[in-house]
């Protein structure tokens, strides 16, 4: 049967976001600009990056995402994430390693309501004619610079983004941790595709010591309506998702 994750999550739990419950009301946000890069990553660590609940994708992949939310109940903010592509049972997902957001208020909301392992930093999204660039600076140190090179228009109908899984501590999980599924819808108004390029990736700053991008797949930049939905499913990180998934809403 397929390979499964071998990540020991216990060292990660100390710093994992804490959530009282999964009842957060959804945020629906219009005119979000989102840059997403995907790469194949070094396959020597494909199982070590994921908890036992999840299967690696073949080939293993990582997603680098920077999105500007122009408005939300927490105000405007820009969010950067690094995720590892995976499968929860048969379903495509991205396991979040770490996120940075440029608004303390949004950071707090994303941690406590949706379980984002988010931290405050300077996050920027810059749009040029020949490239779109996402940049994250933490304490004056550039920890991510990721670009889409040579954007060309494509149909938004051709774009597909995977849903997130976040390792968090739920009040009722006894401290063993829970994977929170965050699966927003996207309504695309515009989309571009180009070549992905990473200029800076400080792996330690992303809890991603074993994430080495080795082969570019694609980069997209979209204008869309999306947001942060009602949480519908949670997964026990220590059991295969096919057996350890629990429906909590919807």
């Amino acid at each position: 049967m397929p390979l499964a994750g071998t990540l020991d999550i216990s060292p990660l739990l100390a710093a994992a976001p804490e959530m009282l419950d999964t009842s957060a009301e959804p945020w629906e946000i219009e005119s979000v600009e989102l840059l997403n890069l995907s790469f194949e990553i070094d396959d020597r660590y494909m199982t070590a990056l994921l908890p036992p609940a999840l299967h690696p994708v073949i080939p293993p992949t990582a997603y680098f995402t920077v999105a500007r939310y122009p408005d939300s109940p927490a105000g405007a903010f820009t969010l950067a994430q690094v995720r590892v592509g995976c499968r929860a049972s048969a379903l495509p997902r991205g396991f979040l390693l770490r996120a940075y957001v440029d608004s303390p208020r949004a950071c707090d909301e994303l941690r406590t309501k949706w379980g984002y392992n988010a931290h405050v930093a300077d996050v920027g999204l810059r749009v040029f004619h020949d490239r779109i660039v996402g940049v994250v600076n933490d304490g004056g140190r550039e920890i991510l610079r990721a670009s889409l090179i040579n954007p060309e228009p494509i149909s938004g109908g051709d774009v597909q983004y995977v849903s997130n899984l976040h390792l968090a501590k739920l009040a009722d999980d006894g401290g063993s941790g829970t994977l929170i599924q965050v699966d927003p819808d996207y309504r695309f108004h515009r989309a571009d595709r180009g070549r992905p390029q990473i200029e800076t990736f400080e792996r330690d700053a992303w809890s991603a010591a074993n994430v080495a991008p080795v082969f570019p797949i694609a980069a997209t930049f979209v204008l869309c309506d999306t947001g942060f939905p009602k949480i519908r499913y949670v997964i026990d990180p220590s059991r295969p998702a096919i057996a350890g998934t629990r429906k909590v809403a919807g």
Binding site: P2, V57, I58, R87, A90, D158, V159, T245
Partner: protein, 370 residues
């Protein structure tokens, strides 16, 4: 209605010395039995790098072995990936011709273009180009088989005039098919006079609409070859058992295992946004349709699992939808013991196949003839 068998040749981990050999040997035993039981065709896919899901990277060799060990069953080379980074078109034509000769004219030629990023990137082929290159190559193959010499100047490949040898045994050339997974590809098949080699499971109403459109369009086709192959072939799982509940339980486990393996791979559409891959293709379609693994599983419509009576009903439904042939996947990572696979085939041949025998044969039999 004709029946066949279909191989992905999936191999369970760990891949020790005997694991792959066992899968191949078991498959060959099944093919020999299929030939004895009157199955019409055996198909074998071409895949690369698809861990566990398919270790079938040289189907022409497997099919040659099949042909050498059987008398009547036709050998379906398909689909062959018509992407030049995978296979030079001349090599496709040559290998197919040799297989047709060695099998005594039993080749069915399936064509397609791959639907996984895993494979396309492995050969550095752009997903944007595969429709174009398939289209070009599928037009060239019949010319390579029928013209004394062939030359070409195109997008996928170019070559000066050469005699491509040998020529196929069947004249003018073997029947040609195209793999149909994405909605709309059946139109590609129809417009080129190619058989529709359906690679989706289940869903009567959707398939019926697509088949009707295929039949309508092929009437005015511009055939790529010298013959039109107006046939609709589809794929299914087979687990036939005297006890319906046992058949369903084992068959569901077989289908579920296969689908689970398929879904761990990276489809072209999921990885790389492109107009060339407007739908998810076979692999993600095989994912269970519920939103998350926490939802209740269900038995998909149209699968040939259960007792003979249930399977007869399912096949009649497919017949009513316009399907001409059904190919069965018999196993996945050896999840069903070989003896049970063979017993399932025997029971199917005994109890189900006669219900779909050609009318002339049935009439002859009813009249007491041979």
């Amino acid at each position: 209605m004709k029946f066949g068998i279909f191989y992905e040749l999936s191999v369970p981990r760990p891949w020790d010395r005997e694991a792959e050999r066992t899968v191949y040997e078991n498959a060959l035993e099944q093919v020999r039995l299929a030939d004895e039981l009157g199955f019409d065709q055996v198909w074998c896919v071409e895949h690369h790098f698809l861990e566990e899901y398919s270790h079938s990277s040289a189907p022409e060799l497997f099919l040659t072995a099949c042909a050498m060990q059987t008398k009547n069953i036709r050998v379906g080379h398909g689909i062959v990936v018509c992407v030049p980074q995978f296979n030079h078109p001349v090599r496709i034509a040559e290998r197919a011709a040799v297989l047709d000769i060695l099998s005594g004219g039993r080749l069915e030629m399936g064509t397609g273009r791959s639907a996984t990023w895993t494979e396309l990137a492995g050969f550095r082929a752009s997903p944007d180009d595969t429709k174009k290159t398939w289209d070009e190559i599928v037009r060239c193959l019949p010319k390579m088989w029928t013209q004394e010499r062939f030359s070409h100047d195109g997008y996928a490949f170019s070559m000066p005039s050469r005699a491509i040898l040998p020529k196929p045994y069947q004249k003018p050339h073997p029947p040609m098919w195209v793999a149909v997974t994405s909605p709309g590809t059946e139109i590609d098949a129809a417009e080129r006079g190619l058989g529709s080699l359906g690679l989706t499971f289940g869903g009567f109403s959707d398939q019926e609409k697509r088949i009707a459109e295929y039949r309508r369009r092929i009437k005015s086709c511009d055939p790529v070859g010298e013959i039109v192959n107006e046939q609709v072939n589809t794929v299914n799982f087979l687990l036939c058992h005297e006890d319906d509940a046992t058949g369903i339980a084992t068959g569901t486990r077989l289908a579920g295992t296969f689908n689970y393996l398929a879904s761990q791979l990276l489809s072209a559409r999921e990885a790389y946004p492109s107009r060339s891959y407007p739908s998810l293709g076979l692999l993600p379609q095989l994912r269970r349709e519920q939103t998350s693994p926490g939802d209740a599983p269900r038995v998909p419509e149209g699968l040939c699992i259960g007792d003979p009576a249930r399977i007869v009903d399912v096949v009649r439904n497919w017949e009513a939808c316009g399907v001409d042939r059904i190919n069965f996947l018999l196993n996945a990572v050896e999840t069903v013991p070989q003896e049970q696979v063979l017993a399932s085939m025997r029971l199917f041949a005994k109890e189900v196949m006669p219900k779909f025998a050609p009318a002339t044969a049935a009439a002859t039999a009813a009249a007491g003839g041979n």
